[in-house]
């Protein structure tokens, strides 16, 4: 008996009679004896919700979430402010207990929200159209690479060394199984080396992937990279790891990107130990019908009322099967709704202000660190993350920060471009300052770090 199952024993008897069988067991007799499970599943007794929360509470107590302390970790996941409205709206079960909107007449809520999401993403990225979302930024980027390879019928992709290492790994996986060869473009001073890019781009290159702000927080010259890319007929794939940067940086579209992909976690989605987040993908018009996944379009109903519907479905797996643009079916619908609500609440001004405060804080921190004798690794323009060198090993800094109650930045051991590695026994740290950080926390971070060495 489970509280989630309404059928009673007496219901069962009547139903079995109607079906014309003696017992439920008969309904499973088509499962061959040899593979029929003889013993029950060893999963313990059903728990009441009270017991469940007790057990889960014990696990929760063993987590020390970064969101509850001054967090200086970024590197792909951002501890940003999340308006309370988002949880209230996404907790409406009309939204979260609905399926993919196959029946548009009773799914206008989901459909319209996605249409609004597509509009916002297309505009923020400066592209013509966006899809209804992807699993996450990394897999969206890998799908973009496959799209570029199919579109150009070429088999090599150039990937900047300044791309987030996880995104690079996912590209490598997808590429391996699609006979695409990823080639690294080296970095210089923490940004993509344009001369190296020029010499590597050839007629066999399907696309070039560059992240901006890049993994080290630096803003790339995307327009220059896109120009070089287009010179050889390849597609420029712009990757955004921190979507808030779109508020202040020249958009991928304005920089000449053919495909803009990225991670939308910054838009009101909790870090949640890495997922579920929100991949996005937007393209220029010529690639519209090559997009993977769901797309919502505007139309009219029989009475001429504006309404929304899943469209261009002939690209998708349920129709085209092995010839689909991608195998993606589920996406991140509810998280796309979160982002839509976030962007609605902040608006263009709020978004820009959140970005500005993050940047102000990051620059204040950098100045204080420099005043305390720490050296920034790079001098180029950055958004709200930057790397700095440590006078000793990283573990020492991490321990000191942890002890002082801070969630320190990311240790860059093994993650820096070969040319920039600090040398034996010396570490480097990538820190992020979001709009959540106060001056007091920034000062405290510097003090804790200073005390460590």
């Amino acid at each position: 008996m489970s509280v989630y199952i309404p059928i009673t024993p007496s219901d069962r008897a009547g139903m079995l009679e109607r079906i014309g069988v003696q017992s439920e067991a008969v309904l499973f007799e088509d499962i061959p004896e040899k593979i029929r499970l003889k013993e029950g599943l060893d999963l313990g007794k059903p728990m009441s919700e009270h017991e469940l929360m007790k057990e889960l509470g014990a696990l929760a107590a063993k987590n020390a979430p970064a969101s509850c302390r001054p967090c200086f970790l970024g590197a792909g996941a951002y501890d940003r402010l999340i308006p309370s409205v988002i949880r209230h709206m996404t907790s409406r079960s009309e939204f979260y207990t609905a399926y993919t909107p196959y029946q548009p007449e009773i799914s206008q809520g989901t459909l319209q929200a996605i249409f609004e999401f597509q509009t916002m993403i297309a505009s923020l990225t400066g592209m013509d159209v966006a899809n209804a979302s992807m699993y996450d930024g990394a897999s969206a980027c890998a799908e973009a690479v496959i799209m570029a390879a199919r579109q150009t019928r070429r088999g090599r992709v150039l990937v900047s060394e300044t791309l987030h290492p996880d995104t690079r790994r996912v590209i490598d996986t997808y590429a391996r199984f699609n006979s695409i060869e990823p080639v690294s473009v080296p970095a210089k001073q923490g940004v993509t080396d344009m001369e190296a890019l020029s010499s590597l781009v050839g007629d066999d290159v399907c696309g070039v992937v560059v992240q901006s702000p890049n993994f080290f927080g630096l803003i790339e010259d995307a327009a220059a990279a896109a120009d070089i890319t287009h010179g050889k007929g390849a597609l420029y794939i712009a990757y955004t790891s921190d979507a808030l940067s779109l508020a202040v940086l020249k958009s991928p579209g304005a920089s000449g990107a053919d495909i803009a992909v990225g991670e939308g976690q910054s838009f009101g989605i909790p870090m949640c130990y890495g997922g579920p987040w929100l991949g996005f993908m937007a393209v220029k018009a010529p690639l519209m019908r090559k997009l993977p996944g769901r797309i919502v379009g505007q139309s009219v109903d029989m009475d001429g009322k504006r309404s929304f519907v899943l469209t261009l479905q002939a690209r998708e797996q349920h129709i085209r099967r092995e010839k689909a643009t991608s195998n993606i079916c589920s996406n991140q619908g509810l998280n796309a709704l979160s982002a839509t609500i976030y962007l609605s609440l902040l608006g263009a001004d709020g978004l820009k202000e959140a970005a500005k405060r993050s940047m102000d804080g990051a620059r204040y921190l950098k100045a204080q660190l420099e005043a305390a004798g720490f050296k920034a690794l790079y001098s180029g323009p950055f958004f709200d993350e930057f790397a700095f060198a440590l006078p000793g090993d990283t573990a020492r800094a991490e321990a000191a920060l942890q002890a002082a109650g801070y969630v320190g930045g990311l240790a860059l051991d093994g993650l820096l471009p070969a040319a920039d590695a600090a040398g034996d026994g010396l570490g480097a740290m990538l820190v992020c300052v979001t709009e959540k950080r106060t001056r007091e926390e920034l000062d405290g971070f510097v003090s804790a770090l200073r005390a460590a060495y």
Partner: protein, 485 residues
Amino acid sequence: MAKHYDKLIFEISSDGKEGYLLPDTGVEGDFSKDAIPEELARADEPVLPRVSEPEAVRHFTRLSQENYGVDGGFYPLGSCTMKYNPKINEDAAAMEAFCGLHPCQPESDAQGVLRLMYELGEMLSEITGMAQFSLQPAAGAHGELSGLMIFKAWHEKNGQADRKRIIVPDSSHGTNPASAAEAGFEIVQIKSAADGTVDIDALAAALDDKTAGLMLTNPNTLGLFETRIGEIADMVHSAGGLLYYDGANMNAIMGYARPGDMGFDVVHVNTHKTFSTPHGGGGPGAGPIGVSAALAPYLPGPVVARSGDFYTLEAAGENSIGKVRSFYGSIGVLVRAWCYIKTMGGDGLKSASETAVLNANYLKELLKGKYKLPYDVVCKHEFVLDGLAEAQGGVRTLDVAKRLIDLGYHPPTIYFPLIVENAIMIEPTETESLETLDSFAEAMLRVADEAVSCPDILLEAPTTALVRRIDELKAAKEPVLVWQG
């Protein structure tokens, strides 16, 4: 019922309004002025609305009222397992202790979530009979893709790189061939036998030294158990291939049979189907994959490991296919799945499957006759009708679906699987009461009568929904995918 709400968020925007107040950081001075060189800075303002908080709340609340969800009524969408989404699981997933964790925090800060992940992997192993799980894949199709990459890596490692073909039945989910293609395979589609199951002769003919494997759903998309699964597994394995289990229909057999015992080498489960995590209007889901012991080294990394009471994230070994997504998985979704399994226990899961199967067979009995039933045998958790037995005025399956909307139900899946021309695919799940099943059957039978006596009602339907039938051709011919302003 609410009145149709016809405003986009951009259309209720007006200057001077804001919906969220940012706190003071205490950082004084305009540090970021000129920080971004002009040629790298954004020049245009993005298309975003300016609305106050109550206006935003009302907008999205009204949008929600244009939606139909499981909490609102019966949702017998075949192949999608629209079961109840327990509320306590939502509370659990919202706990700051889980959703506030940064993925780069040290393992010592994340012992609770790591243990939860470890336990979930173990529980899924018990349910499916597989040796080890990876929780990374973001959805069922993503699990398929990851699993097929494992197939390929395994064959390559064994010097069988020319095994390039994946066999799928013509009744399979579209994701099966699409995932196989994205993993770099060629697809061989085999026809189903007259009874709707795998045609053993067709399979035998398709198997050769180029075969990488077979993808199967069991029970299949017709809701029929592949009774010759043992023989099928032997055939595929002796031909040197591997077996992939599409777990979309796992809700039929929990506690009764396990894919691992049937001979499958790789399995994915859809937490958003079988394990009650919400569909969210399209996601996010999670598609953990389980493998046999021999294939464990090929799983995407990192994998959660345990040493004593301490849990760690172990980097993948050299045989791993690599990463298929950033970080470790859809943690918020996995927390809900863990909660579901805990609250059901082994007996509860078995009862869920048993009841889902009972409900499907019961509905099938009530509906056959007025609807064509192409495979009149005991079904598992779902069954497929082949449209109306009798209809006038050109009424077809689509019209039945639209009429059901007027009668207060979400329609079943239609026109899938592709091998049943007028398919109406019904999956009631264990969530429904006898009263609901009876009322739904009554509605279906009423629609069947109307199809003969007054077909126009069906052709015009829906008339009580907030919008009427939508011009899909217009949407596809003249795509308007963003607000035009």
